[in-house]
């Protein structure tokens, strides 16, 4: 839960900065095109900032699925998940060997 809200907050902050509006006025169900008025070029620019913020590279074929703010949040979470669970797996073996001793 903590990871989710941190990602949500960073994405909303990036959106708010790009659109120059208050982030509290941006709903996660908002469509990038129809509610936030982003054309395809503006969407590309926004996602460029998201890529930078989260050190991601979004392939062309994934762009189609990013229709709402919620889609973007969900996508970033999914992309970051493998890295998060890899970090967990790396920590555990060290702990186990300590308890055995």
């Amino acid at each position: 839960m903590a990871a989710d809200s941190a990602i949500t907050d960073r994405i909303l902050t990036a959106l708010a900065e790009y659109l120059k509006r208050d982030k509290r006025s941006i709903g996660t169900d908002y469509s990038l095109r129809d509610d936030l008025g982003l054309d395809s070029m503006a969407t590309i620019e926004l996602l460029f900032k998201i890529e930078e913020a989260f050190d991601l590279q979004i392939p062309d074929q994934d762009l189609q699925g990013l229709v709402t703010v919620g889609d973007v949040i969900g996508y970033v979470e999914r992309r970051l998940k493998p890295a998060a669970s890899a970090k967990q797996a790396a920590k555990s073996p060290v702990k186990r060997s300590r308890t055995r001793k």
């Binding site: 054309d39 395809s40 070029m41 590309i44 460029f48 392939p59 062309d60 074929q61 762009l63």
Partner: protein, 418 residues
Amino acid sequence: MTQRVVITGLGVVSPIGIGIGQFWKSALEGRSGVSAIESFDPFPIDGYRSRVAGQVRHFDPAQFLAPTQAERVDRYAQFALVAAKEAMADSGLRMEMERPHRVGVIVGAGMGGMVMGEREITQLYQQRKPHRVHPNFIPVITLNSASGIVAMHFGAKGPNLTISTACSSSAHAVGQALNCIRNSQADVVITVGADASITPLVFAGFCSLRALSTRFNDRPASASRPFDRNRDGFVMGEGAGALILESLSHAKKRKARMYAEVAGYAATSEAYHMVIPREDGMEVATTIRLALKDAGMTPAQVDYVNAHATATPIGDAVEIKAIKDVFKSRANRLLINATKSLIGHTLGAAGAIGTIVSALAIETGQIHPTINYDDPDPACALPGISKSVQERRIRVALMNAFGFGSNNAAVVLKKLSR
């Protein structure tokens, strides 16, 4: 009195051949000039989303140009000069018989001297030695280097212009050459389109715009798919096309062979968006109508359209919408093809190469295939688009070119009656 204008010479440097003979043979065979980019030394190609381009292979400047010419201009200008030399030889014009101030040069170029440009910029920022910037840097990157070198080579002292409107640059070069001769500012205009900017930064820029095809990196020849349901963006290309435009009276006097008449031209802006066209196609339709009006033609008289058709999801559909709006039911009887399916999008060269293809279509009655048109997109499908060569007597051809910066051009060519 307004002069009529004809095309008397053609020349080309392209991903499917250097020289009109090889180019046209390859085009009719439906040969793709799109291939994998090996690397952008020192950057590995897998750092790029798109990895294919219409590249001109086996171009050795030393084979075509004197060392002083080759070294002092960038790749795009080398292409321009080679194409111009072929076109001038093809036309049979002899400069010693011409008044030099009556022979002009108009070049269309989108990106210009980016090969040397990127190299010098990189070097300066890495090494921080301003004294080591090459003395040729400015002459090479200045966007009129091609029109300069072409004029110098031929001793052409007439109007010398470079037009840069991105993807429509050399369509406007043709149009402005037409105007120049119509208004008697010149008898002859060496008209060229050229670009060679498949370079690390420019290519990365187009990748970042999400404008390029990325789904066919393992099958380069399939990547450029205008009008196809599975198209996913354009393929960058490089090359040059050159045409000798001449007044009809001047061409007749020297008994020149004439490919076609340049009958009309329109230049407009959508005043809408830097990279996105108006989706209803109405602005493109206006450009086409204005070009036909300038040519004194009606839609009913047009036989063939050399489409802009870059294979972007939106652009192709917009162009067909516009064609349907202008031509109504005749749209179903037009022959239409997309040269970019063969060679990719050559940016500043596209308008000139499209006009060359249109002139050859009028001369030969042959329309080259639109390759990769495997699964027609219903939004783009018209009966006259085909994966095979088509044959018909072409009396009137329309050539479209639409550029970033909300810029549209259309050129109309007409067969000369014997």
